[in-house]
Symmetry: C2
Subunit: 759 residues, 2 copies
Amino acid sequence: MRSREVPLLLRYRVAPSLALAAVLVAAARAEAPSLFGFGPEAGATQRALEERFDAGLDPALLREWMKRLTAHPHPVGSPFGREVAEFVAGRFREWGFDTSIETFDVLFPTPRTRLVEMVSPERHRARLAEPALEGDATSGQTAEQLPLYNAYSVDGDVTGDLVYVNYGVPADYEELERRGIDVRGKIVIARYGGSWRGIKPKVAAERGAAGCLIYSDPRDDGYFQGDVYPKGAFRGEWGAQRGSVADMPLHPGDPLTPGVGATSEARRLDRGAAATLTKIPVLPLPWGDALPLLRALGGPIAPEAWRGALPITYHLGPGPARVRLKVEFNWRLVPARDVIARLPGAEQPEQWVLRGNHHDAWVNGAEDPVSGLVALMAEARAVGRLAREGWRPRRTIIYAAWDAEEPGLLGSTEWAEAHAEELRTRLVAYVNTDSNGRGFLSAGGSPSLERFVDEAAREVRDPQRGVSIAERQRARELLDAAPTARREIRERPGLRLDALGSGSDYTPFLQHLGVASLNLGFGGEDRGGSYHSIYDSFDHYSRFGDLDSAYGVTLARLGGRLVLRLANAEILPFDFTPLADAVARYAEEVEALDRRLREETEEQNRLLREGTLVTAADPKDPFVPPAPRPAVPYINFAPLQNAVERLRASASGYAEALSARRGKPIDLAHRQELDRALRAVEPALTDARGLPDRPWFRHLVYAPGFYTGYAVKTLPGVREALEGRNWARAEEQVAAVAARLEAAAAVIDRAAERLPTAP
Amino acid sequence: MRSREVPLLLRYRVAPSLALAAVLVAAARAEAPSLFGFGPEAGATQRALEERFDAGLDPALLREWMKRLTAHPHPVGSPFGREVAEFVAGRFREWGFDTSIETFDVLFPTPRTRLVEMVSPERHRARLAEPALEGDATSGQTAEQLPLYNAYSVDGDVTGDLVYVNYGVPADYEELERRGIDVRGKIVIARYGGSWRGIKPKVAAERGAAGCLIYSDPRDDGYFQGDVYPKGAFRGEWGAQRGSVADMPLHPGDPLTPGVGATSEARRLDRGAAATLTKIPVLPLPWGDALPLLRALGGPIAPEAWRGALPITYHLGPGPARVRLKVEFNWRLVPARDVIARLPGAEQPEQWVLRGNHHDAWVNGAEDPVSGLVALMAEARAVGRLAREGWRPRRTIIYAAWDAEEPGLLGSTEWAEAHAEELRTRLVAYVNTDSNGRGFLSAGGSPSLERFVDEAAREVRDPQRGVSIAERQRARELLDAAPTARREIRERPGLRLDALGSGSDYTPFLQHLGVASLNLGFGGEDRGGSYHSIYDSFDHYSRFGDLDSAYGVTLARLGGRLVLRLANAEILPFDFTPLADAVARYAEEVEALDRRLREETEEQNRLLREGTLVTAADPKDPFVPPAPRPAVPYINFAPLQNAVERLRASASGYAEALSARRGKPIDLAHRQELDRALRAVEPALTDARGLPDRPWFRHLVYAPGFYTGYAVKTLPGVREALEGRNWARAEEQVAAVAARLEAAAAVIDRAAERLPTAP
């Protein structure tokens, strides 16, 4: 690991040679400091271009577009959804992009019957409706609103005793087991949070439950967090969260066409064979509907961490509350309309830089996704202006507005699957945004782009505090960290990209195609509870979001810089040292996980042997001690450790070779060759066999967790095999990851060889 | 530090010599193992006595007495309080004790006027009353119940904007300051918990508040914790907590007679000069009364940890809620009646073993204190039976039932002050109990008695699980500990006594007189919310407490063993190694505190210097960065470290000398001398100058915290000087503690010299 004590400028911008001290001083004096991927001259030109780009951003336009695009609900397949796509396409065209709307036919169920009724100890029928509110102009568009439901629930009509399962993740069911509670044949009620929502019915079904309700506890996004809408931003008694419950960790996209684009000719699965539909019926509830059900539960008191903010004693059940859940859906194919806008590259048109944000919304979607979409539009408009003024990018720039993200990344996934071959050979990087708000930069993505993002984030100012967005993010991170963790943050050379799991449109590009990807946004100072409700409206966002579009413009500044630099760079701005560092950290984590599992298993077995668990248990409470578990064997991590060292050496070799060039110009032929080599590093981290039990996910470094849904699992094959105590699989996966890291190292070596040395 | 790897039996019962292996084997085989403080013969006799003692315990009697003693409210000065004292005295007499009722005249205010009214934004007057409940037979005894109030609040009539201050401890006011909120002239509303209640008005007054309300949030003992009374055991909407708010960390006991017994002739302070009365008016509220006030607060949202379980968004204020608080009291002297029952010792009547529990209650007091009182009575009755059968203790046994504990340990404190000289020369140890319940042993006290208590706790069976109460406690402690802390618990030779702060009648004996003391009780499996309310009734306790008196009898078994062994031991069962170990731990803690303060101060100053706090702050929220603080100097802990080593050496020396005797008999003259020396160790830990700013508290190892009230501060002079950043005082206190530890070591050396060696 290289030293972290060297001042940043020295480390990043010049080779570590005393002879270069003069260069360093000169660089520090120069008005335009060096730019990663550009020689001094090209860098100066690029910065001048970016100044013109910035001048083309107008916050008033973002607000105007948001007002227009949130005027009506616009889920996939809706009339206003079509208008949104056409409006966005029209703007792209107007701004000079070669624009098309590419349509896929995707399965999108909408509800026909929704019933939740407590049948005993008393009858009570859930309202399942969000009321119109005065002061929220669009909340009364009832006819156009999708009702409260969870997409890709199966049809069903089930009745059973109710059990409260907290967040409904596997650990919660272990707690229930210890109390002797079995959910077989029961209706479970889980609260939102703690996992992606689709995990809840998946785990419930695995445990034998007959149906699943998911409600919004005020502890998590209601009055416990802040005043409720319309007084404040948080979710009220009758607000609830729509959302997909497809088994996305298996694969996102259209459930009927896994792995291929859902074109009109595509072969479709029978619905019964679609693996990502739920196994049991599911519906979401506002807490106003959940309260009578939860209040009617008996049985043990819920563990303290399970209790929400409702003014009741949380019991677990089962029963005496007995609940009927009935749902039926219209199982229709609807058109998903992706807007694709191209600005062809002047020198390397076959190298593509892709920038996307979805345009569909569960309802009006001011925050999700329009706040991000209008930033992308502002960016495209300003790029278009540069083009109208005669500028052309070296590489092709593509702006995309995806449809059908909400039901499960359908627009982006089908497009990525339909164009997989082309994208694998052409796509340099994908830059994604989604909801945006007021606050702190959140940036995730491929570590090979970390230095590149850091450089741009140091140059974009935070609109509230005047420091750079990188500096503000670092301040937040410092304060949120335990004091003992602050040293590491202070000594880091720059920002660290978060590892990407899932939850937005980068997934098909990063985790299926293996394209280096980024996901960007701001937030943290405009928290609220309008997510996936009818109250995610222009009125709500105007009062509680990024009121003056200051962060919309900031996101456009950042996104625009990244796109323009990726498109124009003489040498694509990849640095693989952060990749090697990141993988080394992940490797340490899985080794630590193995140790922890061994220690915990030993300790648990010891407590069982000693009788401690029973001795300490209250005889008045039901208690079922867990079964002893086989000891955790030592896993051979050596292949992974060796591969990490190999990757680190290759990354250093490339960085040194790049440094040695000192920004000398590079001719087109070399650039083409180098682009191909650099672009090939991220795909080398994928395995065509995919992850165990979910071949669609091919990236062996990043995946959404099989039991977390959105939250990332790094080195997922290894980590999830350990978590599942499948030791043989863990060793296989160590070998598989090691092989991909070695392959990536070899590609990096090739790229280093292709770097023409300075004369 | 001695090794913790040696098996327990070897470590405790025989000297570490190979030649003694045979003894060890023999001891393990013997039916009656050795007994600490007794030779083999005396030990066997003692055990036979204890079997007879156990046979004299009858759970039905505990229940019968509880029913009788909780029939009416019996606070100090009440008619039924007098009946309780007389009933208990009558039983003691009946059982053969030489019994008297010793009366003190103490200040005990009761309310004349109580008003809490929100005057804006709307008018709302608090009910301040706990309603009678069906199914609770005594809850309707309105005429005899003390109303909801906090004793020793001053009179006052104040109006001000309301501010929510969480638990109202100093750290909470620092949080408020960071948000620019000043409580000067305001009415603060604090929730119960987080400190002893008397701290809340004390800190509020220090910060300039005009009045203080204290309410019971359902998060802490209401519906969040479990079903509310009468369905469950927890506090309902209109239940509230009475209690004293005198400044007990200054001194407990009668506010008008600090340091002397409140006899009829005692010189009394003017009420205006009484230091322990509050500075501002105070009243407690049920949450039903607090809810409208809290709901009417504006201002910033309370930090997450401050939010309770009420179905509102917790705001801090100040205002717009504006509140008037008016209280007036009858400031009367009332008689506090201590019941004192003596069983004179046959051989050393001038050596006293004292055993006490209070008899006064805020209302009916089934749990607090009758559950403990009836265990003490059962114990006294069984001891009395032994005496009637002809047995006599070697030393004098005194059973005490204290009055006026609830308003501030008045009965015990005045008695201890009135008899201070006699007690200092005669009292061998004090064994206290108070509320008792179902669950786990809780044992606190002087570490010199740790081995003694551990031995007895291994011999008393838990009535629910059949293992010893020591083993069950250890199982609970293991599970509650972080896995990393379990090794230390597993390797400990036996149970560890908790350090005593305050909150019950041991305080005058331990912390003022320096008598080795213990405090014992069971609980943890009968949690509820009846504390200091009219619902702490026989009905409540019979349904949710120690239903069948099984733990009452268990407490009597334990307490009786301790009393009988202390009274009969040939050599008083003190072991000073646990004392040295405990003080060594405390010394490490204060050194760690000093390091932590230095690191935190440096880090905080650094964050201020870097601007991180401001950069990360949300510009929409008020934020006042704290002022930088002077660096924390290094403190000279060497005197303390040296004194700890000296104490450790003396403790080992005594233990070795004791071991070498191998239980040989000891004649009366030697025993007398040895008793005096051993008894003198604990007083050596006191300093006649007392703690800084609170001379009544003389023990330099244990005190209730100046800002915690009940919770202990070990090495309080040093620790609180550090916490208050008074570095000069910290060094002075290090020297003062070191001197007392050296003195105690010298006394232990004297005791070792007085141990007649084996022939």
